[in-house]
Amino acid sequence: MAPVKVPSGHFSILYFAAASSFTGKSSEHIAAPLRAGSLFEELEKKYPGMEAKVLASCAVTVNLDYIEIDGGNAPDLDLVIQEGDEVAIIPPVSSG
């Protein structure tokens, strides 16, 4: 599931469920470093319409920890996604 090797200067990003449907991928690499607060903007540029259709209802993890980047006062907007990090887009879950 996770990419085998992340090229230098990049982080990996994983897409699940609706995020995977929308991008047509389960993962890819994006240039690092990237301010967490700019992540959705960056994805919207690559996949026009993704922010409203998918990302608005998604959570984000960096290295398996949830970060909060939703809204102007979110605590993790200035967190910097580093080379080699694993970011994941987490749509609303549906187990059971």
Binding site: A17, S21, S57, A59, I90, P92, V93, S95, G96
Partner: protein
Amino acid sequence: MATTESSTYTPDIPSSPITRTNPESTVHVELTPNSLDHVAATSFVRSPSAGATVLFIGTTRDSFNDLPVSSLAYTSYAPLAMTTLYSIATTILSKHGATKIAIVHKLGECPIGEESIVIAVSAPHRQAAWRAGEEALEETKAKAEIWKLERFVGGEGVWRANRDGVMGEKVEEEKDQGKGTEMNLEDNAKETS
């Protein structure tokens, strides 16, 4: 939220079960591509100090809002889902004073009518076992990073969200709900298998 998926979608799943059991053998969580074994889960929680064992088996339904479902598949962010399931299990064990707990979820294709989740809990007395079992299920449905793709008869696949009231309708209050990490009992009550 729901987004359609082409009928050729194949879930990306591990080829063998991923398991985690604590050293005391009181907590077991598992994500597996294999058929679920509720007898094994029940055996795991059996204990001479427990007078009650509660077993929940969730099976996949053949319809959603009266629309016929032809097949289902589950996918997961397995490393994160395992951490989440383990945390749910250990928290519930201590909160309810339960003896042992097992949570096992299916990944990949899950034919209609087959088991998608098994939760077994033992406790000294029945009240704690019932409550722990129910809470384990609700917490898992609210938090575990697992997604269900429902394929409708003659149509595309739809990624379900447990907190949606209806298929394809976006939930607006999610910004106040911690983005998929909070439980919504009312919504989930409708979805429980």
